[in-house]
Subunit: 222 residues, 2 copies
């Protein structure tokens, strides 16, 4: 079997991506980050998802992006917006996906893997620059130049199966594959019980996705 390193946030998209990687026959190694996010409850979600998907291994690595601040997700002095905003929202975490993919690349190289999976999505997304196809392609080029494996002829692929899908498509596919969405947390500001606010961008996109797909959202909202 071919090894795939799957970035697993604890949200709906990465849980679905993991299920797709498994469906495609990859032996999955899941990687999550404790990066100083407000909603560390998502790491509990990631653990449940990884266990439910029976991954080969699940690692949670600490990287303190909150040391830099600059985002509502890592800096408690910046409020999470509850109304849609124009442009790139304050929930954008500077260089987050670049850092996460770099760490995924490090693990992949040690495992002898060339396949990374990431649940980025350019349709029902929040306008983040590091969720776009151009970004992913640039990272693949970098990975081939950055590594011993690349020099020795390996070609890295960052699989982003969801990138062109609507949230409804993602949910429909995930339910077909048996993803337990009750284990996922999408909210940017869940409470201590893992209940979602229902008002932030991420909650809104999730709710609309379940509605459009015609399924009941198993999230608990406070």
């Amino acid at each position: 079997m071919t090894i795939g390193v799957v970035l697993l946030s604890g949200g709906l998209d990465s849980a679905t991506t993991l299920a797709i990687a498994k469906e495609q026959g990859f032996e999955c190694y899941a990687l999550s980050f404790s990066y100083g996010q407000r909603h560390s409850i998502e790491l509990q979600a990631a653990r449940k998802i990884a266990a439910s998907a029976r991954v080969e291994e699940h690692r949670i690595i600490s990287i303190d992006l909150s040391a830099f601040g600059g985002s509502a997700l890592t800096d408690t002095t910046i409020d999470v917006p509850e109304m849609p905003t124009r442009g790139i929202p304050v929930t954008y975490v500077p260089a987050r996906n670049t850092v996460f993919l770099s760490m995924g690349l490090a693990w992949a190289e040690v495992l002898g893997a060339c396949d990374l999976f990431m649940g980025v999505n350019a349709v029902d997304y929040s306008g983040y620059p590091d969720c776009r196809v151009e970004f992913i392609q640039a990272f693949e080029k970098l990975a081939n130049l950055a590594t011993r494996a690349g020099i020795e002829g390996s070609r890295f692929t960052v699989h982003t199966p969801l990138i062109e899908w609507s949230k409804a498509d993602i949910i429909t596919k995930g339910l077909q594959l048996g993803v337990k969405y009750e284990n996922t947390v999408s909210c940017y500001q869940p409470n201590g019980k893992g209940e979602a606010c229902g008002r932030c961008d991420s909650c809104r996109i999730r709710k609309e996705g379940f509605q459009a797909a015609g399924f009941v959202d198993p999230s608990r909202y406070y």
Copy 2:
């Protein structure tokens, strides 16, 4: 003044790069990593270098690359070689410079900076893939696509002033700029007193550099 984020390892090259960034008029923010390296004494060296260069700020961020292993520098079960080896040596840390530059990019974006400095060197280097011009150029492209700043028109530059220099050139320039090389640690396996082995790749390249430049190496060897 223009802000520059300078990656500072505690070694000779990054200390010289910091001095060059200051000479070029940059307001310098130094960034070091506690990444599970064997030779954490290099972080003490980084602190001394940052203080001596009077940087605006010096941050040391923890990223546990030793969780992945795969290198003699992060895995104590792999010996540091004491004879030159062919190809990319076991001291290569998978994706290390990609991870470090990504973190530098995160801080730069928060600081509103577009200039990163890194002391990579493609001449007297150890054969690491992520010390080459092609890698640096690919990272710049990625940075412009990855960030809010890039989307808004900023263009990131990774300055690598040493990339084509010999070790002797680097040392000569550094001494002209007043770099205190007694504060730097190059050895891959220094002892607890910060004394160098004199036998690893990095020690050998350093020694030969001082000899070629005609200066006395202030390192203490055990």
